[in-house]
């Protein structure tokens, strides 16, 4: 093949290539340099570990009731974070609850990014696909996620997965729109034009040129979806469309505790703090990740 001629012809010294160095570890270096991001990453690891190790760490089962000792304050012997109205150990329920909330959040983000980002790229890059995908997006936007959740629950019963799917589907359209907008912008840039003059295929351009440049927008959107999904799960569970009691989630704990808000505020404050910590961890880490991906960000500092 004629194409392969150029390398030998130019009298190349393979050794030459070795001095170029490597950019491996660049992402990691950038992440490590970002103190706040590192804090977010550590927080995230702790939260995930706590959630995964819940069955080992929890002193009691999540649904285990102690009718003799309801409304205990945090710090009570035997109950590290106190108990709720049915005498269930808040610490144990927190561990299991974080597990469920994280599952819903991660599943929802995966669904929104996994489906929304590729569709957005396709819609942004190819005009004829845009007509189809954008109309479908509009149709999906017309259904509030509650309707989708009710529908899913009616078909296959309420569960954690269905709640996550309903929430994920609800956020696909926004993701499509954001990625589509970025794609429309990026595909007009000169570097895409020069890729075309190299005879690069459309798919190649989309995945090697457009996607990395759209990554920061996708990450930002994902970090926005994550906390909203955790709270959305609470709403769905409250309505009986999500996780079924007595299995705990942070949302269920919140809604259970609100009736006894004045007798035992800690039972509500603690899961609330849990949601806040999860969101904070994801946001800080997401910001750091975006900065690491975006080469223009480092020069701004």
């Amino acid at each position: 093949m004629a194409v392969n001629e150029i390398l030998p012809k130019s009298g190349l010294d393979i050794e030459d290539g070795l001095v170029l160095g490597s950019s491996r570890g660049r992402l990691w270096r950038s992440l490590r340099g970002n103190k706040l991001g590192l804090f977010g990453g550590v927080l995230l690891v702790i939260v995930v570990l706590l959630a995964i190790l819940a069955p080992i760490l929890a002193p009691y089962g999540p649904a285990e009731v102690h009718f003799a000792t309801p409304f205990q304050k945090p710090g009570t012997v035997g109950f590290l974070l106190g108990t709720d109205d049915l005498g269930r150990d808040v610490f144990s329920r927190m561990l299991f609850g974080m597990r469920a909330s994280l599952q819903v959040g991660v599943l929802c983000v995966l669904l929104a990014v996994g489906v929304g980002a590729p569709l957005g790229l396709l819609a942004g890059y190819w005009k004829w696909l845009d007509a189809i995908i954008s109309r479908l997006t509009d149709v999906t936007l017309a259904f509030p996620f509650l309707i989708i959740a009710v529908g899913l629950a009616a078909i296959s019963g309420p569960s954690l997965q269905n709640a996550a799917i309903a929430l994920g589907v609800a956020y696909i359209p926004t993701m499509i729109r954001i990625v589509r907008g970025e794609t429309l912008r990026i595909k007009e840039s000169d570097f895409v034009l020069s890729a075309k003059t190299m005879d690069a295929s459309g798919l190649r351009i989309v995945f090697t040129h457009v996607l990395p440049n759209a990554a920061s927008a996708i990450i930002v959107q994902a970090t926005v979806i994550m906390p909203v999904a955790v709270i959305g799960e609470a709403l769905l569970s409250f309505l009986g469309l999500g996780i079924q009691p007595p299995t705990p989630s942070l949302g269920i704990m919140l809604s259970d505790a609100q009736q006894y808000m004045f007798r035992s505020p800690t039972a509500a404050i603690i899961p609330g703090l849990g949601i806040a910590v999860i969101c904070l961890a994801f946001n800080l880490f997401g910001d750091a990740l975006r900065d690491a991906f975006d080469p223009t960000a480092s020069s701004r500092k």
Binding site: A2, V3, N4, I6, L7, S10, L12, D13, I14, E15, D16, G17, L18, V19, L20, G21, S22, S23, R26, S189, D190, F191, L193, S194, A195, K196, T197, M198, D199, A200, R204, T208, H209, P212, N213, A215, F293, D294, P295, T296, S299
Partner: protein, 542 residues
Amino acid sequence: MDSGQPILEVKDLEVSFGEGPVLHGVNFTIRRGERVAIVGQSGSGKSTTVGAILGLLPGNGRITGGSITLDGADLGGASEKQLRHIRGRQIGLVPQDPMSNLNPVMKVGAQIADALAANGHQGRDNIRQRAVNLMTEAGIPDAGRRYGQFPHEFSGGMRQRVLIAISLAGEPELLIADEPTSALDVTVQRQILDHLQTLVDARGTSLLFITHDLGLAADRTDRIIVMANGHIVEVGTPEQILLNPQEEYTQQLVAAAPSLLATVTGEELAGASLPVESKAASTTILEVRGLVKEFTLRSQHGKKFLAVDNVSFSVERGTTTAVVGESGSGKTTIARMILGLEQATSGEALIDGKSITASDGAVRRALRRKVQPVFQDPYGSLNPTFSIERLIDEPLRVFKVGNAASRRARVAQLLDQVALPRTMAQRRPNELSGGQRQRVAIARALALEPEMLICDEAVSALDVLVQDQILDLLAELQNRLGLTYLFITHDLAVVRQIAHQVVVMKAGKVVEDGSVEKVFMAPEADYTKELLGAIPGASFAR
């Protein structure tokens, strides 16, 4: 004019942003009625000086030393309120970019009226009458009607005239023009500056003219201040600076300024001319035949716009052909059609007898390898998320050339060819300067060993010295690799420096074509003469 009296005195001015000063001991005075130019490249501190004088330093910039005296009053100690009074009434500013300096949702007349009202004029009819007068004075025809139009209905040159009218609204004693025409075509630039000069002279206004173009400064002012890295390098009359520069930096600048080389005499020309490859029987590599491109204007009910109108020319292998024209002449559209990025309405652009748009598969791939582009903006043409190595590697990957090790070796070789250190391979484009980026873009274009490069305004975004270096690099590469260039540019001065053949375009049509010697020495078309006449600094050519 009582030329003895200074209107503006800048003494030991020092300005800092965060840590460390960016302006070091800048000293100069402007006398009444005098025209002074500050010339410097980007980052030389010329705009910072203007910001300091106007009390409009961006961000955390502040004056850390020295003084600025306007008409006997110290500006450094002036309060914001006093400064507001001074700006407009005593100092007028003609800003750089006419596109972004007018409010797009406000009628042009209202924007001038606004400036008049801010300068203490009263009464609607009075203000309107004055605004119309100012517009007429600034050279806007039919000012009464155009008063009620929006900025988007004005061309770039007309917008700049509006900005001039605004700057004159307060009848300032000193007018600061910050690169007032760098965004405009040369012929428009000449009209605007001629007009500005007449206005300034008639009013006895002093002018501080900020520019990167030494030729322009020489044409338009009495005194030139050359700045670099926040220092004043040299001060002198245009003759002193251009014909007898004392400092090394000024000498480099004068040597690099393409506009000053543009009008060399015939004999010198023959000697200085680039050696045309006397390669065995020069053959045609690119042939453009009856190329037409029509755009349908959506806003005007499907009206057709002829961007390229029956253009024909051919390019010999190993030579440089320049396509010259002002904005809207269709030169970039031609480049895009040759590159196969745009479909021609009729006619064809043939590379070695074949057209990219008409072929596909292996034939098209082979053609694409022969012709590679270098774009104008080195900030936009490199994917910011890639490392330099990855960027230069990309065409090799697309064409599946070699293996990982041999591709790396090729990248190293290319970096050598464009004189970039190999240690730069893992940097990202945003860590490089404009000139370095353009070198990367050239290396990428060369990766597939093309026979022809299409340079679309490839040096227009660069500073003079850098531009000179890139042009040298291109000439050297041509000698070494026998490359053919199609050089798309608006700058006749650059053409003079590198091209063998010239195609002059206007409004989609070829006005004139021929060898550089012929077009520069004996231009036939009026438009070519007009273009040549508009090159600044012609009277100072050596």
